[in-house]
Amino acid sequence: MIKNRIGRTGLTALAIIISLLFLLPVIWLIASTFRTANETFASSSPLSWAALWPQHWTLANIESAVNNGFLQNLGNSIFVAGVTVVVGLAISAMAAFALAVIPFRGRAATFSIVVLSFLVPFEAIAIPLSQSFSQWGLSNSFLALILPGLGNGLAVFTLRQFFLGVPPSLAEAADMDGAGWARIFWSIYLPLARPALIGAGLILFLFQWQAYLWPILVVSNSNLDLAPVAISKSFGAFTNNYGQVFAETAVLAVIPAIVLLALQRFFVTSVASTGSKE
């Protein structure tokens, strides 16, 4: 018993130490937001505790980021990611439902195409795709930024796998009660799929939140710049402003962290509570 307790305490301590190690870069990033770039570089090598705690606090980096219009860029990123998540989830969930539940000819082939679509790195098709967007007159618009993020094969795949795990008897029972496919999707599958929807939503969110190559290719109007592009523009040929970059990167990293922390309890929710006794 005592041996068990000691073992458990030891493991907990180990877990805490490892989590702290993972936190170090984040603390360093946040600390660097509140000190000059010179201080950051001076304290980072050799690594010392000073790297994690500013010696001379300053808000100059945040001021510089705000004065540079970073809030607008951040707003653009939030808008693009938000619309992508909402519209993308609707599309992906319907596609996944069709691929998992509705029997139709060519379903396996369609599914193979969906799987292939997310195995091809987006970067590989970004340039030809941007040329098409340019020809269609879609460049320099929010639509151009959002569209490629909507049909996400990985999100469809994740949701389909989840829908396959829902006992078919639920749909059969609804069918016998006279529900159509739309009703079965809306009233049975969607409410059950909340954890999977959150997972798929995160895939869609991160795709847009990290987007860099695509926004550069289709947007040249700086008012539409997304946050990662704005950050990279802080490095000119003859200037650099690391302090501002640290501040902007910290904000960019903290937002998805908050989203993840807020939604994490849903990830552990499982399908165990579906009401079926199979």
Binding site: E39, Q131, I216, L217, K233, Y242
Partner: protein, 445 residues
């Protein structure tokens, strides 16, 4: 989509290279890199409002603002839309944008060594007929960089030079006398290396750190000073010449700096100025544009000296900068050319309106204001103006002029990185030669 960062970078590079290659194949069949559209021989001011789009990376939107404002004031019917691209990715993005024949871009920044490559891809316009007499107006190196096969294909507007900053406190701690700021007192790289080690032993964190730690712009000067040449020779400079005694000597010396810990591994070009600014580096060969940053570090006592050369070798300093290119697909060529003339020629050029300190303009008359900048009046920068003028006149060397420059720069940068990380110099240069031969084969057909 989650792709590993390194993999992602390769994919981006591969995608961009393939599109560039495809567009090259596309235009090589036409045989000419320039537009068939006739250019106006006399520039006429538009009578109706016109907007031209200028894609650039040399300056941020904020820095270039006063220049554009001055232009729009002088030419009320022309509005300039400035699209700033991230500097680090500019060459790739521009390649992708121009190869789409994007009519949106009228004028764009051209990184000087890429002029021939852009010309071959059909992205530049021959503007010789509009500006026949630039020789008396811009410096010779800039003009040469903007000219391909006798044709002027860009408006050179900005040149550059380098010097060597040193940290007085770190040198005096090691008992090393301050170097002279006069070109006649130029140090040798060998001596700088020895002194750097001494300074390190006396407390400097790093002895010698190059500003552009793995870029050909700055490191070409080492192999040139050692007699190795720019890296290409023969017709069109398309025969690799990096596997020679000069390159081997220069890069062995450079690689040893990292092996001995005199220079740090794992540091990127963007980080090096901060290392000098916070007092960790004894010698820092770099650009004059860092002066305001260094002067801003109040505790930093530094001086400037001429860019060193190898013992027995020739003095070589980096130069070259940016030109403005006119897109053959531009539908507002008149207005675009008026803008190019304003930036490069009118009243001494763009630098008259630029408030941020940068680099010497190509315009010969426009240099006065640049050299008069407050940053050069700081006592720590004593002697810098006459030094820069002398270097630009006597020791400046351009980067390799070849249609295969894009591939050359990629391969050489990787070679520098390998050597920095400890790879054998001879085999790295042999490997670079093989890669260059294969990459340049396309242009030799």
């Amino acid at each position: 989509m989650q792709v590993h960062k390194g993999v992602r970078r390769w994919l981006i590079a591969a995608a961009v290279t393939s599109i560039a290659a495809a567009s090259l194949v596309g235009c090589s069949s036409s045989g000419s890199g320039t537009s068939a559209t006739a250019l106006p021989t006399k520039l006429t001011e538009p009578t109706k409002p016109v907007t031209i789009t200028y894609a650039g990376a040399a300056y941020s939107a904020a820095d270039i603002k006063p220049v554009i404002a001055a232009f729009e004031k002088a030419h009320p019917n022309i509005t300039v839309k400035y699209e700033a691209d991230p500097f680090n990715d500019f060459n790739s993005i521009l390649g992708a944008q121009l190869s789409t024949k994007d009519k949106a871009i009228d004028v764009f920044d051209v990184d000087m060594p890429r002029t021939a490559a852009y010309q071959a891809r059909g992205w530049l316009t021959d503007i010789s007929s509009v500006f026949p007499d630039l020789k008396s107006k811009v410096d010779a190196a800039s003009l040469a960089a903007a000219t391909v096969n006798g044709k002027l294909v860009g408006m050179p507007y900005q040149s550059s030079t380098n010097l060597m900053y040193y940290n007085k406190k770190l040198l005096s701690a090691a008992g090393i006398a301050d170097p002279s700021s006069s070109p006649s007192g130029r140090m040798t790289w060998e001596q700088v290396g020895t002194d750097a080690k001494k300074a390190q032993a006396a407390g400097a964190k790093y002895g010698l750190v190059f500003d552009q730690i793995d870029r050909y712009y700055q490191l070409e000067t080492l192999s040139s000073s050692a007699g190795g040449g720019p890296g290409g020779t023969g017709t069109g400079n398309l025969t690799p010449a990096v596997d020679n005694a000069g390159w081997t000597k220069a890069l062995t010396w450079y690689g040893d700096l990292f092996k001995d810990g005199v220079a740090p591994r794992g540091v990127t070009t963007q980080e090096t100025p901060n290392l000098f600014a916070n007092g960790q580096v004894a010698f820092f060969p770099g650009g004059p544009w860092w002066a305001p940053m260094f002067e801003g570090s109040k505790d930093l006592d530094f001086g400037v000296a001429p860019y060193p050369a190898f013992a027995g070798g020739t003095a070589a300093t980096p130069t070259g900068g940016w030109s403005l290119g006119l897109s053959p697909t531009s539908t507002h060529k008149d207005a675009a050319l008026i803008f190019m003339k304003f930036i490069g020629l009118d009243n001494g050029g763009y630098s008259q309106y630029l408030t941020a300190l940068s680099v010497p303009p190509s315009n010969l008359a426009g240099g006065t204001k640049f050299y008069d900048n407050a940053a050069f009046k700081d006592p720590r920068m004593a002697g810098v103006v006459s030094l820069m003028k002398s270097e630009l006149k006597n020791t400046a060397i351009l980067r390799l002029k070849t249609v295969g420059y894009v591939e050359f720069e990629n391969i050489i940068t990787k070679t520098y990185d390998d050597i920095i990380n400890g790879a054998d110099v001879k085999s790295s240069l042999a490997s670079a030669t093989t890669q260059l031969k294969s990459a340049w084969a396309t242009y030799k057909k």
